[in-house]
């Protein structure tokens, strides 16, 4: 039986839509995977020596101190990215299979997922280095088993948390609270957790505790599915209570308002789009890396503009790059209705502009880091509105990835969204403004740099109508291809 399951899995892997791309992309994907593996391997081998050199502290202690964040971060990443096994159970329900077999397989499948395996590429080499550096073999193995068990605990915890947004919200709040307490030196969590992690080394038999915990969580997950193994229970998709909102305040936008209302409902009522909004909020804080001098490589003045564009344009990039894919599930409807592409595009444009302005206002706290920081954000915003909003819509016309609004899968990038055309379009999006600023900066100073960016942004804004006509014609020529592509939902 298990053999059959494995065969099925193998087929679903080989025949997945993602694999049906061209050879060049496949090679690129393999290279990407190898790159990540190599990174983790290098980190695994290198971390010990890097910490020793750079921080001049006992590396093993440092690792034990930050391990708690590693584990928590892992859980957060899983929450957003790891897909849950239950989805594929449905076709097996009525077949003559023991429930236990199906559930065990479903859960076991998550155990060999990328999210677990990737950690081995870090911890195995790291453990080897520890042994080379004279740490006791048995103790290191105990520590290693303990950590890997915790990683697996995360895996099983995620199975529960995944279906409950509330649990996740609680976890996030606790983490933020602990982080804040640590930051203000009220309470240092790592002081306690590092002792625990060190204990796993000193007393290797303690590794049995996380191991048992992982097993217990597995049992829990198993029982959870077993009792909810019905179409109207655990396997049912949640039905939200619909709320109606006429949004009459949007009528002031005139004929665009029809689409604008729809777009706002789209964002409010779908999981995938909500994640996008969340991401764009995170982008507002991205500038901290640049303006606080936290990352040395970002200290050059030209990076300011780079940061400014991302801080104000988080939504513009994350939402805009998938226009018109947001409407992929009902694209044939739109194409057979009497709509004007221009209005449709303009509605998306308004959304991006509004979001950019809001982000810019929210980002006013960057004034704290000097006027240059906020000037970069504002200049970036003007460039985003004038130039990038057009480019993003233009690029979107070539991206034909259907979006499943109700799931978060692929929310963080999609291989199909990555093609030569969109890659080329990043040049005017990011590199051009950096170059413009650099020119002004070197010629006369910061002020000229910022002014030039603003001038280019305003110029772009003046060409809005012409650009929209161009995009409209691209949308029309790509229409049949787009409809066909949206039909292939996996």
């Amino acid at each position: 039986m298990i053999k059959q399951f494995i065969k099925l899995e193998w087929k679903s892997f080989l025949r997945s839509a993602a694999f049906k791309t061209n050879l060049a992309l496949k090679i690129l994907m393999v290279l990407g995977a190898l790159y990540f593996i190599a990174c983790f391997l290098l980190l695994g081998f290198g971390t010990y020596y890097i910490i020793e050199k750079a921080l001049e502290k006992e590396p093993f202690e440092v690792i034990n101190k930050i391990l708690i964040f590693y584990v928590i971060l892992d859980l957060v990443i899983r929450y957003f990215l790891q897909k849950m096994p239950i989805v594929n159970i449905k076709p097996f329900l009525y077949l003559p299979l023991k429930k236990n077999t199906v559930i065990n397989f479903g859960i076991a499948k998550t155990a060999i997922s990328f999210f677990n395996v990737i950690h081995a590429f870090f911890f195995i080499p790291f453990s080897i280095v520890l042994i080379i550096e004279g740490y006791d073999v048995v103790n290191v193995i105990g520590w290693h088993i303990a950590i890997m068990s915790l990683i697996y605990c995360n895996n099983f915890i995620n199975i529960f948390v995944n279906s409950k947004d509330l649990v996740f919200a609680l976890v996030v709040m606790v983490i933020v609270a602990l982080g804040a307490l640590m930051y203000f030196n009220v309470f240092d969590l790592t002081a306690y957790t590092s002792q625990i992690f060190t204990a796993f080394y000193n007393l290797p038999y303690l590794a049995i505790i996380p191991l048992l915990l992982a097993v217990a969580l597995y049992r829990l997950a198993f029982n959870y599915f077993k009792t909810h193994f019905y179409l109207d229970a655990g396997l049912a998709s949640k039905v939200a209570v619909a709320e109606t909102d006429n949004m009459t305040w949007l009528n002031r936008f005139g004929s665009v308002s029809t689409f604008l209302k729809n777009d706002i409902k789209l964002i409010k009522r779908n999981k995938r789009s909500k994640t996008t909004v969340l991401m764009s909020v995170l982008f507002i804080f991205y500038g901290m890396l640049f303006f606080t001098g936290a990352v040395e490589a970002y200290d050059g003045p030209f990076w300011r503009i780079f940061a400014g564009i991302f801080v104000s344009g988080g939504f513009l990039f994350s939402f805009g790059q998938f226009v018109p894919s947001w409407d992929s599930s009902y694209y044939p409807l739109l194409m057979s209705q009497n709509i004007k592409y221009r209005l449709y595009l303009e509605s998306k444009w308004y959304l991006m502009v509004i979001a950019t302005i809001v982000s810019t206002i929210l980002a006013s706290f960057y004034l704290y880091f000097g006027w240059q920081a906020y000037a970069a954000v504002v200049a970036g915003a003007i460039y985003n509105i004038g130039v990038n909003s057009h480019i993003v819509l233009w690029g979107g016309a070539y991206i034909k990835t259907p979006i499943d609004l109700t799931s978060n899968k692929k929310a963080f990038g999609d291989k199909k969204a990555f093609n030569v055309k969109t890659l080329l379009l990043t040049i005017p999006k990011l590199l051009l403004p950096m170059a413009i600023y650099a020119a002004g900066h070197l010629l006369h100073g910061e002020l000229l740099g910022f002014s030039l960016i603003v001038v280019v942004g305003v110029l772009g804004f003046l060409f809005k109508n012409r650009v929209f006509t161009l995009i409209e014609s691209i949308y029309k020529t790509e229409k049949y291809k787009t409809i066909a592509a949206y039909k292939q939902t996996n």
């Binding site: 039905v239 939200a240 209570v241 619909a242 709320e243 109606t244 029809t258 209302k261 729809n262 409902k265 789209l266 009522r269 779908n270 599930s329 009902y330 694209y331 044939p332 409807l333 194409m335 057979s336 209705q337 009497n338 709509i339 609004l405 109700t406 049949y480 409809i483 066909a484 949206y486 039909k487």
Partner: protein
């Protein structure tokens, strides 16, 4: 109203549809029957300019559909769930379609009130999004949305599938009324021979993309169709 000339659609080398000529006059209720893969949905998709013909063209009220978009204001359709916007409530969806077709809220409300028995209390005011409705109820919403804005041509792909018997009977009455009293050209496809013969004045049988029968409906039609499909 709808004239098809020398239309064909090929995927790679497979010819999925080939219609030399077919014209559907205004106000006709037109039925398309055929087994799976006969080309029914392909024909409707071509008619809505959702796919490109390999050769030939369809003109809808003298508008060549893949050359101009002027057919859109007087044509409406419900093909499948890709014509529904899942995250809207049925009401919001009707109003949205209404706005696209130049109907205000009260126009739409007036139309919807005629379909209260068709909805059977399961569509309006349910506090549910379209994606959470059952397949049958989704279909009801989609069909009614296709009637918004006084279209002159209505295209319904398999409108009877997934509907309960009561609704099927009501839908038949609606379609008949549209063609006979309002002069609307209605195109339906179906696997249910009884329903098509009930509703349509004219029935065309497609097989492997070709028209092999073109019948004006009378008492003998159902028998003839049944005989045709049983061998």
């Amino acid at each position: 109203m709808i004239t098809t000339t020398n239309l064909s659609k090929k995927y790679n080398d497979a010819l999925v549809l080939h219609i030399e000529s077919l014209s559907i006059p205004k106000g006709q209720s037109f039925g398309l029957v055929g087994n799976n893969g006969a080309g029914k949905t392909t024909y409707f998709s071509l008619l809505l300019d959702l796919i490109q013909p390999t050769t030939g063209e369809i003109s809808n009220n003298d508008v060549v559909v893949n050359k101009s978009e002027d057919w859109k204001p007087f044509t409406s359709a419900f093909i499948d769930e890709t014509f529904l916007i899942g995250y809207l409530t049925p009401e919001e969806y009707f109003y949205f379609i209404g706005e696209l077709r130049g109907q205000n809220k009260s126009d739409v409300d007036a139309l919807l009130s005629q379909f209260e028995d068709f909805f059977h209390g399961e569509i309006l005011n349910q506090k549910k999004y379209l994606r959470d409705l059952s397949k049958g109820n989704q279909k009801k919403a989609g069909i009614v949305a296709a009637l918004i804005g006084h279209p002159e041509v209505i295209i319904l792909d398999e409108p009877f599938a997934n509907l309960d018997p009561t609704t099927q009977i009501r839908l038949k009455a609606i379609i008949k009324d549209l063609a006979q009293t309002k002069g609307v050209t209605v195109l339906v496809s179906s696997h249910d021979l009884l329903h098509v013969t009930d509703v349509c004045e004219r029935i065309v049988v497609l097989e492997k993309g070709q028209i092999i029968k073109d019948l004006a409906t009378n008492e003998a039609t159902l028998k003839e169709l049944e005989a045709h499909f049983s061998n």
